[in-house]
Symmetry: C2
DNA sequence: ATCTTTAACGCAAGCGTTTACGAAAAACTT
DNA sequence: AAGTTTTTCGTAAACGCTTGCGTTAAAGAT
């Protein structure tokens, strides 16, 4: 019926042990035998049985990609994590591992102890994505001993592998862009103060303006949706009506702010420049197309996967946790312009 | 160390066979024993070892979600399949199965014979998503004997389970909407003639206009992007300049057409009504917000998953292939209006 | 030519389940 | 009360692979 290791062994009159060793490039087989085995395996079109191998080695050769979707995020329904996942999948395609996915629901983060993927040993390692994963949960997962890398998240106190984008640097870039266009009265629209990425993005703006000796007006909102962008705009403008440039902490808020400005009679970019963050899919489709910061989601995925594979190979000698931040780049489009003189 | 079936057996002084039977609700254990075993299992926090179980039963308890991304589709970068995947994942969360994902690259569809997920028995069943999967490949997968359901695809000649949206009905709805608004000169912008869903959508428009005794102008394009929407608009308008309503075969093309119309000085919806198809994420964000047909992606995913689970359970008595088409609904937004009189 | 080291290979015992099959006990027959 | 059926449970053999250990053969050292 199906061709097993013992099929090859029988046909070649060798032991299954030798076949196994040959197939896995392990020492203990002469080159001559190895060659014969490999050839026969190809000829018979042999494929290892994943479960059997898994049972013997207590590995699953599966990597879990688990994301925690904020309700907010599904609102601006952005293929952010999908893109990252594609990156992961792409990187894994070269390897022996395959990808299994899951959603970190409230139930799961609530009681990490019965996270089935771990308990049933269905994965060898995992990627945890999303800013809203409780650190308790992360620590619990860490306790399972499996390699983990965080994406779009990080632990403040405990060392762990993580890949994030350069929030601070990106925001700094945006601020520089404003300054280069001659803006001097600049504001930023942000989400909840608690989110780390939010804070870093604000800091980026702050640093640039500090360097230029200019003030920065900041408004917080409790969400990061289009609607909250609109209301944040109102609030910001009543405080500091003379702003000529607004940076938002993400594209949704930027879009909201733009809309609010437009319906208040201000033209973008003639009267007001605005830049977003993330470069979500419809940023270029807006009217005017949104200037924003592109975060290389795909690359973040492949980076995370490569790190994981590295950990899996050197599982013995613990690689020390690295915190990778990938660079973001400014995409100049139609929503920013040189400030009107006067 | 870790708690196994034999741990429970030893503690209770019974055989591992009984424990296994009790845990899987199989006959052959008295209710009394079953209860004791279940209790002890809970107490010890026992979890089955997936690989071992898989080896014994030759099942993996994994379901594959494989999508073929058209280059086109990644262009309008729409979380279409991600949404479907979420639906699948959600439905599977209740079951014993978990989800593993993969991309159907050219390599894979090119040589189905070495699709590792199948060969290494890593999955019990699969969902194949995307209109561009060659039927050769689908047939090859079918040959593996595993349950399969197609999403956003269907085989013309061979019976197979599939879930699609009601392309024809949706288009009919859109046409009705135009008619109700008083439009009489209506056109449609479509992609490649070869695509089945394209054809069905055109047919929907056609049927409604036939019933109303009105003509329908159709333009094809070789892609379905924003750009091709723009050029298709030009083409359509040179042929039939007096159109007051345009239906597009998807939202990207609709947006392209709208943009082209606007830059040609026509106001939407005052001078021209347009409706899309799919209700992609940025449809409501456009200016004006795009009237379109919402296809319930999430639901398509859960339906597909439920079908698969059904097949998995009745694997013995072959369920006859069903072709489910889910209803789409018209979302009226700002891009359509009553035709100007005169 | 003998002794020691090293490499090549086979044997067999796992890995943690499930599941025929058979034995013993319990439940019905008449 | 003895035979028959049914239920309950245990024994042991898979499932397909990996790997520690022992044996034999090859190679090196003296």
């Amino acid at each position: 019926m199906s061709v097993l290791i013992k099929t090859i062994a029988r046909e070649l009159n060798v032991s299954t042990a030798s076949v196994s060793r040959a197939l896995n490039d392990q020492p203990g087989v002469s080159e001559a035998l190895r060659a014969r085995i490999l050839e026969k395996a190809g000829e018979l079109n042999y494929t290892p049985h994943a479960a059997a191998r898994g049972l013997a080695t207590s590995q699953s050769f599966a990597i879990g990609f688990f994301v925690r979707q904020k309700p907010d995020l599904s609102a601006h329904n952005d293929p952010f994590y999908s893109e990252i996942m594609h990156g992961v999948e792409q990187a894994l395609a070269q390897s022996d591992y395959h990808l299994t996915v899951g959603n970190l629901t409230d139930d799961i983060v609530g009681s990490p102890a019965d996270f089935r993927f771990i308990r049933e040993r269905r994965i060898d390692a995992m990627i945890l994505a999303g800013p809203d994963i409780p650190s308790d949960f992360i620590l619990a997962m860490l306790g399972s001993g499996r390699p983990i890398v965080l994406v779009d998240n990080a632990l403040a106190f405990s060392p762990i592998h993580a890949v994030n984008c350069d929030d601070e640097g990106g925001a700094y870039l945006a601020a520089q862009h404003f300054l280069a266009l001659g803006h001097t009265r600049i504001g930023v629209i942000a989400g909840p103060e608690g989110w780390a990425s939010n804070r870093r993005r604000i800091q980026g703006y702050q640093r640039a303006l500090d360097e230029a000796g200019l003030p920065l007006a900041v408004t917080h909102s409790d969400r990061t949706t289009i609607e909250s962008g609109q209301s944040a705009y109102m609030q910001l403008m009543t405080q500091t009506p003379d702003l000529t440039a607004i940076g938002a902490v993400n594209d949704s808020m930027a879009l909201g702010a733009m809309r609010a400005a437009q319906s208040a009679g201000r033209r973008v970019p003639a009267d007001l420049s605005v830049v977003g963050f993330d470069n979500i899919a419809w940023a270029p489709l807006n009217d005017p197309p949104l200037t924003t910061l592109d975060v290389p989601k795909r690359q973040m995925g492949t980076e995370a996967a490569h790190r994981l594979l590295g950990l899996l190979n050197n599982a013995a000698n613990g690689v020390l946790p690295t915190n990778l931040t990938v660079a973001v780049s400014l995409i100049e489009r139609g929503s920013t312009a040189r400030v009107e003189r006067g």
